[in-house]
């Protein structure tokens, strides 16, 4: 592959595998996968999601001693309630900022919604995703090679739309529960009971899915273990891009836009701070999963 060779000449040192990035001297330049805004939104999403999850689950699992303890640590139920609603506002903010960003993106880069929604880098599920899913299943079962993924794999798209679905369902029911007097002007009072079940079970689904499947897909996969910092730094080593997103890499090389998307690595201190943050987020997520499993299996009522 000539492009590959070309790329090698760009590098002054041989590429290091992802696992060794930390210890080896870092490559000069890295591929920029996420913009500053996208990274900020993801960070805000983490803060808001973890706050919502922990405060909300204390209420859902209020019958466990853990919930009582955690609620107390968070400053009592009332404070936990404030945190929950503040985080919800933040989440709505993240969501609307993203939508606004899409609108701007459409104006600046894609010119039309069609290009944005049905172009090669679309977030919407495509026929190719289905093919890749089936190919992946074959690969899992040892019946074929690893598929050549593009910029967004089908599981990444699934995660992305899970947020849309979650915000719609959890957000709407949450608002109903936040302003029950207002909503019962239109809805029957018993809808609040239904909303409670939907809100809490959907939230359980969201937390459970994010803290297990999403975590595994992006961080815990043995080849990325213990974490993938791309979404925080925005940078992805070129080797990883080639290995994980070969289609995107090839398209970039073919269009000659790759060079424009390479950047100096983040300063050491930034990376270290990001790692600390990510570690905290991951730990909270895992602890929450353990707590959920404990509450569901041993204390359920």
């Amino acid at each position: 592959m000539p492009t590959d060779l070309e790329l090698h000449t760009l590098e002054t040192q041989p590429l290091q595998p992802a696992l060794e990035r930390r210890r080896a001297p870092r490559p000069e330049r890295e591929f920029v996968r996420f913009t500053r805004l996208q990274r900020a939104l993801h960070a805000c999403m983490i803060v808001s999601f973890l706050s919502l999850a922990t405060t909300g689950l204390t209420l859902k699992f209020s019958y466990t001693g853990w919930a009582v303890l955690l609620s107390r640590l968070l400053g009592g139920f009332q404070t936990a309630g404030y945190i929950h609603r503040t985080a919800a506002v933040l989440m709505f903010g993240v969501f609307s900022t993203h939508l606004y960003n899409l609108y701007q993106l459409k104006k600046s880069e894609y010119k039309s919604w069609w290009a944005l929604l049905f172009g090669p880098n679309t977030m919407l599920p495509t026929r190719q995703d289905l093919r890749q899913f089936l190919a992946t299943m074959k690969w899992f079962l040892g019946r074929g090679p690893r598929p050549q993924y593009g910029r967004w794999t089908y599981w990444e798209k699934f995660d992305y739309f899970a947020v849309f679905w979650g915000i719609a369902i959890i957000g709407s029911t949450g608002l109903t529960l936040w302003f029950p007097v207002f909503f019962t002007r239109i809805l029957p009072g018993q809808f609040l009971n239904v909303a409670t079940i939907i809100h809490s079970d959907e939230a359980l689904l969201a937390t459970g899915f994010i803290f297990t499947v999403h975590f595994f897909n992006t961080h815990l996969r043995p080849e990325k273990f213990p974490m993938d910092t791309t979404v925080f730094t925005g940078h992805m080593p070129l080797a990883e891009l080639k290995r994980d997103k070969p289609l995107e890499y090839e398209a970039l090389v073919a269009s000659g836009k790759l060079e424009a998307q390479l950047e100096e690595p983040q300063p050491e201190i930034v990376v270290r701070t990001i790692r600390a943050f990510a570690w905290i987020a991951l730990s909270i997520g895992f602890s929450t999963v353990v707590w959920i499993i404990y509450a569901m299996l041993f204390a359920y009522r």
């Binding site: 696992l19 009582v68 007097v181 019962t184 009072g189 009971n193 897909n217």
Partner: protein
């Protein structure tokens, strides 16, 4: 029939005879009426007349009359209005004026309260005949006289005993007069010993000059009573020399106690005050600090103890009543402990019925007697802050035995523990001990002071049946609500045990109901009986946040009411259709009827009652499970491939490293350092 017919015949004959006389010797001059003339008619036992509705016999027993003190008098001496009248005379006759002869007695009587009652027209007022009789009056000295000493108590008692119209309808301050008198030392002397000189009613009250004790001229007025009693008890000052200093009694009657202050008017008892023991006589020995009884008890009496006590005016011998003044050691005749019940009779009766009294009756060594709580010589009233029975001291007083580890607590088998510390921390204890509110409930307010009974006893004030009334003594408004509520036994007839005050508020650790502890525990309290409904409460928002320690959310009583709980179907219920919206609005201002449709006790485990919740829950659960199963499978299948990739990457890495180190060896140190660094 025969008698009536014969009576009519006699009358007809009489009238016929009279008519003949009148016709024959028209207006015959009225001759002196002899007793025999009167008896001509009045010896007929069947002669009667009507007075009002009563039929009164007009029979006069000539034989008894001739034996009476008035036998020498003619009928008209008393029935003066018949003087010179024709016979048979018209009825009724005027009342006989005994005063014509007995003018002094008549005068006294008309000034007495009996006489004044007659003047008022009181139908119950006694006339001469009511006590003395009429035609058969005997001399007072005659033992058959109606007013002989032995009969006087019964003559007076005809009106002055329980159940008579006089005792019931007139203002008589003494009760059970005849009964008390007959048990008194005077009554016993008269009736049992037959001493006719023993004082009877008239000895104190006088026969005719009976005046109320408030009248300064009355024989039983405070100023005169000593004189009245000393008519018989001439040397009484000698006996009372220590208390009354001789003749002061009569000279300064207004400052000294009157006889009746100690010796109740009709209850005068000999056993109380044996031969007038004076305290100083006792203190001759008992002021010795080292005085010991044969069993080693210290018999020293601090004279100031008694002087400062409630019993300051009570003599030693009034309590230690078996003393005998004729002995050198008057106390050697004492065989029984002091019996407070002699004076405190009602209290003693209560005590005997109490658990404490029952234990004493069973000779239990743990049984507390009066002195265990009240002490001995230094008894203070419950209103004296120094007293052990002053409200603030009561918890410690009861705690002497009922504190954990003490004798009462050791034998107690119920479920109340740490009673005194719990009480001290309770709202009552804090009110009493921290806020110093002496009206706060102490042990005795609920358990009573003297009739303490275990909860299981139906007579007990803390028996579930009686508890609302006991608490209601202070919390009256609450009791009023409670007795109307569904929890009241008067409203709900059931075999199940209904809750009373202590089931929610506890017995001894009662807290303020606005404290977090009470608010958070109430659900479990209600849940003891309303198990299912409490469980479902915890399935909804209010219950969940309560579990997390939030006190401001709706608890059972916020919706159902606290003491005025009714069935939700009852229109008076806070949750009835008419009231429910207002109840929600207590917290959720602007709440609407739709809002009130929220199910506060909903559960998603009941497909029949709440199908939509049940199916929502299972729909969501299916969604969850299927997502997790798919996600989990995806992950599990991925895992081996990912591990494989990791191995490949490692191998590649090692290869590159080897290349790098080979390169480094050719190039020099820096790359070699890199290689080391990589490991």
């Amino acid at each position: 029939m025969a008698t009536r017919a014969s009576r009519w015949a006699a009358r007809l004959l009489g009238w016929a005879g009279l008519m003949t006389l009148l016709l024959a010797a028209a207006p015959a001059p009225a001759a002196d009426v002899s007793n025999d003339d009167c008896l001509a008619c009045h010896s007929d036992k069947s002669l009667t007349t009507k007075r009002g509705v009563r039929t009164v016999s007009l029979f006069v027993d000539g034989k008894r009359f001739s034996g009476s003190v008035h036998s020498a008098l003619s009928c008209t001496s008393c029935h003066a209005d018949l003087e010179g009248k024709d016979l048979p005379h018209a009825t009724p006759l005027a009342r006989v004026e005994c005063g014509t002869c007995h003018s002094d007695e008549q005068k006294q009587h008309s000034h007495s309260l009996h006489g004044k009652a007659i003047a008022r027209g009181d139908p119950l007022a006694p006339h001469c005949v009511d006590c003395h009789g009429n035609h058969d009056i005997l001399p007072v000295k005659d033992k058959n006289s109606a007013v002989a000493p032995l009969k006087v108590p019964f003559v007076c008692g005809r009106c002055h005993r329980e159940g008579t119209p006089v005792q019931a309808n007139r203002k008589i301050e003494q009760h059970n007069i005849l009964e008390n008198y007959s048990e008194s030392i005077h009554g016993e002397a008269l009736f049992k010993k037959g001493l006719v000189v023993a004082a009877n009613c008239v000895s104190c009250h006088t026969p005719h000059n009976i005046l109320p004790h408030t009248d300064p001229n009355s024989s039983i007025n405070r100023r005169n009573i000593a004189a009245t009693c000393t008519k018989c008890h001439a040397q009484i000052e000698e006996v009372h020399r220590k208390t009354i200093r001789g003749t002061l009694w009569e000279k300064e009657a207004h400052v000294l106690p009157a006889c009746v202050d100690c010796h109740q008017p009709h209850k005068v008892r000999n056993v109380f005050y044996t031969q007038g023991m004076a305290d100083a006589d006792c203190m001759r020995c008992h002021s010795d600090q080292h005085l010991k009884a044969s069993d080693g008890r210290n018999l020293f009496v601090q004279v100031t103890d008694v002087a400062g006590s409630r019993h300051a005016k009570v003599a030693c011998s009034q309590c230690h009543s078996e003393v005998n003044a004729s002995r050198v050691r008057p106390c050697e005749t004492i065989t029984h402990p002091v019996d407070c019940g002699r004076c405190h009779e009602e209290v003693a009766q209560q005590y005997q019925r109490s658990k404490h009294g029952q234990l004493l009756a069973a000779s239990d060594s743990n049984a507390p007697t009066c002195r265990e709580c009240h002490g001995t010589h230094h008894v203070l009233g419950k209103h004296d802050p120094q007293s052990v029975t002053f409200p603030t001291n009561v918890p410690n007083l009861c705690g002497r035995c009922h504190r954990e580890g003490k004798k009462a607590a050791l034998r107690y088998t119920g479920d109340q523990h740490e009673i005194i510390p719990h009480y001290n921390e309770s709202i009552h204890g804090k009110g009493l001990l921290k806020s110093g509110l002496t009206v706060t409930a102490t042990c005795t307010n609920c358990h009573t002071a003297h009739m303490v009974l275990p909860r299981s006893d139906p007579q007990s004030t803390v028996n579930p049946k009686n508890l609302p009334a006991t608490c209601g003594v202070c919390h009256h408004g609450i009791q009023e609500q409670f007795v109307e509520s569904v929890h009241s036994a008067t409203v709900t007839k059931t075999d199940k045990e209904l809750p009373v005050c202590n089931d929610c508020h506890t017995a001894h650790s009662i807290r303020r109901t606005d404290e977090a502890g009470f608010k958070l525990e109430i659900m479990d309290k209600c849940g003891r009986c309303h198990e299912e409904i409490a469980k479902t409460y915890f399935d909804t928002y209010h219950g969940k946040v309560s579990r997390l320690g939030y006190t401001k959310t709706a608890k059972c009583y916020d919706c159902h009411g606290a003491h005025d709980i009714q069935r939700v179907t009852d229109p008076r219920s806070h949750l009835s259709r008419a009231n429910v919206v207002a109840t929600c609005q207590k917290c959720h201002a602007n709440a609407t009827r739709r809002f009130a449709g929220y199910l506060t006790h909903a559960t998603h485990h009941d497909p029949k009652k709440y199908p939509f919740l049940f199916w929502t829950f299972w729909g969501m659960t299916t969604l969850l499970l299927s997502t997790f199963v798919l996600g989990g499978l995806h992950t599990l299948l991925w895992l081996p491939k990912a591990l494989e990739m990791r191995r490949e990457l490692r191998a590649e890495e090692a290869r590159e490293e080897a290349e790098a180190s080979g390169l480094a060896r050719g190039q020099g140190d820096p790359a070699g350092e890199d290689g080391n660094h990589a490991h």
